[in-house]
Amino acid sequence: MNLKNILTEIEQVDPEVYDRLDTRRNAMQRFATIGKVLATAAVPFAMGSMFKKAYGQTPADVLDVLQFALTLEYLESEFYKQAVSSAAAASASAADRAALTVIRDHENAHVVFLRAAITASGGTPVTFTAANFDFSGGSAAGGTPGAGPFASAFTAYPVLLAVAQTFEDTGVRAYKGQAGRLVNNNDVLTAALQIHAVEARHASKVRLMRRMLTGNLVPAGTTLQPWITLNQSGIDTGNAGANAAIQKSYNGEEVVLQAGVPITNIGGTAIPISAAEASEAFDEPLTKAQILDIVDPFIR
């Protein structure tokens, strides 16, 4: 669907759409100019502005996805802000600290980007500060705020990376789960996919950092790779509560049937595809409710 089609469709139910925007020609020209002048990434704002001008709102579903994404980006951004300057990171290699800094900067850029997109779409972006988060994971109902199972995240580097991996893999699944709700909004969908891929790159890197780390909390007998094998977290913190919380981010990743097509051994005998590899080849989505349940202990 392109913008012209959208306007044409709107015109059928609302003949005055162009009066609301401007004249038809001006609206078209303005958008064409905006599209040329602005970076691709800025187009969501242009789209948002047009809808806002015409109707005072962007479809509620799209705004809801953006707010949900912003919440998760705040969670990640605040986590890495504290992580980079933590005692745990001080014990890590300079290369690892540099990688964590790159990731922090990306998450912060996502926060800024999503806030601007929401504002341009006529919404009021949610705001979180460090005080809103509990990276010990103790703020679920019945928990002990500040003293949850991940209380050592900023003092023990292996725990820090375990939490980072879980957040990144969860972020990938969260964006994936929302893509369908954006199917009618090309610009927001594309931006969301672009963020989604960056989160996957982060996940891959953090997994590699854990693979190379001595005392990495990877369970004995498990080979941690940049991709997710079956429903394995590849994390054993030694704390049952922490392990259970982490496992929620990996349940459902073991799928080996895609759109009705069995993936295991789909390559025949020449290149045998194991169930583990079949599951690795496809990352799985999580619903918004599942994601909110996962992050609940980390939000005060």
Binding site: M1, N2, N5, A39, T40, A41, A95, A98, A99, V102, D105, H106, A109, H110, V172, Y175, K176, A179, G180, V183, N186, D187, L189, T190, A191, L193, Q194, I195, H196, A197, V198, E199, A200, R201, H202, A203, S204, K205, L208, T223, Q225, P226, W227, Q258, A259, V261, I263, I266, G267, I271, I273, S274, E277, A278, E280, A281, F282, D283, E284, P285
Partner: protein, 241 residues
Amino acid sequence: MDPQSAVQKNGKEKSLLQQSVNRRNFLLFTGTAASAALLSTACGKEEDAPFFPSTEVNLGSGDFGVLNYAYALEQLEAAFYIQVMATPYASMPAIEAEFLKDIRDHEVAHREFFKAALGSNAIKALEVDFSSINFTNRASVLGAAKAFEDLGVAAYNGAGKLLTSTDFLLIAGKIVSVEARHAALVRELITPGSFADLASLAPLGANNANALDGALMPKDVLAIAGTYIKTKINANNLPTS
């Protein structure tokens, strides 16, 4: 692969486009679908027919066209990694062999998935051209792997909006994050710390300031991938928005 050579490929693209137009005119001229089908069959046996390229593959239109486009790219990636593992570069470290073998298997899984899902709508097997890659040389192989993976990420990101089915969109989403995991890993094997060097991905549509990965439209992706694909691909009927 550098973006410059990709741009230069446009010259080739244009001639391909020209051939397609000529083909369409020719079909219009012949009048009936039946005769077109006959001609198609007849010409399928000929190499280098002047304005009826027998080797051309038409991706088709709509969602199936987009899936065929993904199938084409997965064919390319799978063929590449199959070759990498068939003729591993000298002294390939065990961990690299482990990762590259896994990536090969993921790409084969993707390729075969699309083939199965598309069924009778699937394009044929493409002929690849890896003459520019030195499979005995680690830097050459990993450089090509990086190019394929980064391009694959940008391709799926750009194609998402072309799909109308949310089921297909989800499938694309399930695959693209795995490609991004591959891309980051391969980049780390080449230059530690470069897993998400988005500034370097600007030619593929990435935006470093907003921390957005690449996103490219099919024509731009195919202009780059064309270096490695011998079979002529006609993407003219793909959706453009």
